[in-house]
Amino acid sequence: MTDVHPLGSLVRRWSKHANLSGDDVEAVFSLPFTRRTFGKDAYIVREGQITAECSVLLRGLAFRQKLLRDGSRQIISFHIPTEFVDLQNSLLSVADHNVQCLYRADCAIIPRQALTDLSGKRPAVRIAMWRDTLIDASIFREWVVNVGRRDSKARIAHLLCELILRLQKVGNGPEEIYDFPITQEQLADATGLTAVHTNRTLQSLRKDGLIQLTAKSLTVLDWEGLREAGDFDELYLHQQI
């Protein structure tokens, strides 16, 4: 059943977080949801809106962002398939940031009340859900470090390492990502740099023989070198659990 149910991949991932019983799995599969496809750049969640639902990304990529009063944007994290893009909103009533699609995305949208009921009744599911949000938080902390204390080259290299490791989990890689969908402007917004600075930094990583970048793909030529350039240690992704 986990192969055909749209939430099957979510259940498989959650099974690594917590000991889900057969009844727990059944309860997740009984969650009401609707499928919705979003176009490139479409908003899944808007800052300030009352939260009525949470979305699991089934296909595509999404990112969290906030817009500033001067019109600039800060990207706060990226999301890959099988992840909730806004699980915190199952308990927080007002969205504190936006979630946007990087390109066409397919979501399963679950009513908030159904999720809180489920986590209230099923401790193992509660733990699995909570772990998801705790890992999100760990990634946010690492991003504070990345924008706060790493130079531009290390920031970009760090972000690329994170994206590659996470994308590998959904079938990309190992070290080559075809269809690398993130623009230089988005990389800039995720690292607190300008687009020009980001471009220069990518060129420099290329000249150092660490990556190869075309309009369509990103290839890592020297994974260890890229990790070192990015001061990257994947402990914060908590993937060992």
Binding site: H97, W130, Q240
Partner: protein, 254 residues
């Protein structure tokens, strides 16, 4: 802290603000086993990479979350205030992904991780309240990414001062219009991705513009609204108990 107060009462207030706890739930929290420790400024409560066995509740004093980069630069990622549990995330993450250090001297109540795991699992209202606390921390973390990533130095410092003031006020720890900032300029720099020299210049600028007054570490807000404006500060991301619900009611008007 009043000396006759239960060491976990600040934490209990914080949890209760998140969800209506019954008397059973309240007793469960106050009956958590704990060990008190007096700590000096700079002491480590949690080390990055360690396997946590306790979760520390800050009884008095201030603490901060930090990571060191490979080059030895430090980034502060959050300031913990009295009543905060400093490593709730470690209840269900097995390896600590950052360090927590005392900012001032203070008292910590170490609660066994297993005891917290048990109440989060077995008491759904407490579980929900504690999870909400971590979700709010997480929201603050997102705001810090924005603060450092896209605001200039003056905005960053003004923002962090506003955030600190509001958090203290919500906790009932900010009696007047100002507060004792427990951070050195170097620590402020580490929290905002700036250099101490830059922080010093910005603080002087805020003072010259009549936005704050400083006497040693004491910061007095002389123009609170203007300071919030300078810092591009809106408090919604703090999800202050009651305020989200107010927004829900507001948006539901016919």
């Amino acid at each position: 802290m009043a000396t006759d107060e239960h060491p976990l009462s600040g934490f209990l207030r914080d949890v209760t603000a998140q969800a209506p706890l019954g008397s059973d739930d309240r007793a469960t929290i106050l009956n958590l086993p704990f060990k008190l420790r007096r700590l000096d400024a700079g002491s480590y409560l949690v080390r990055e990479g360690s396997l946590p066995e306790h979760c520390g509740v800050l009884v008095d004093g201030f603490a901060f979350r930090q990571k060191m980069t490979g080059e030895g630069a430090r980034q502060i990622m959050a300031v913990c205030i009295p009543g905060d549990a400093v490593d709730l995330q470690n209840i269900f993450l097995d390896i600590s992904d950052h360090a927590v250090q005392m900012l001032t001297k203070g008292t910590i109540a170490d609660v066994p991780r297993a005891a917290l795991q048990e109440i989060v699992l077995n008491r759904s209202t407490i579980g929900r309240a504690i999870i909400q606390l971590t979700l709010i921390e997480s929201s603050i973390m997102r705001e810090w990414v924005v603060n450092i990533g896209r605001r200039d130095a003056r905005e960053r410092i003004a923002h962090i001062l506003c955030e600190f003031a509001v958090r203290l006020e919500v906790r009932g720890l900010n009696p007047s219009q100002g507060f004792e900032l427990p951070m050195t300029q170097e620590q402020l720099a580490d929290a905002t991705g700036l250099t101490p020299v830059h922080v010093n210049r910005v603080l002087k600028g805020l003072e010259a513009d009549g936005l704050i007054e400083r006497r040693r570490r004491h910061i007095h807000f002389t123009a609170w609204r203007a300071l919030q404006d300078v810092g591009d500060f809106t408090r919604t991301y703090l999800h202050i108990p009651g305020e989200d619900q107010l927004e829900v009611a507001f948006q539901a008007r016919p």
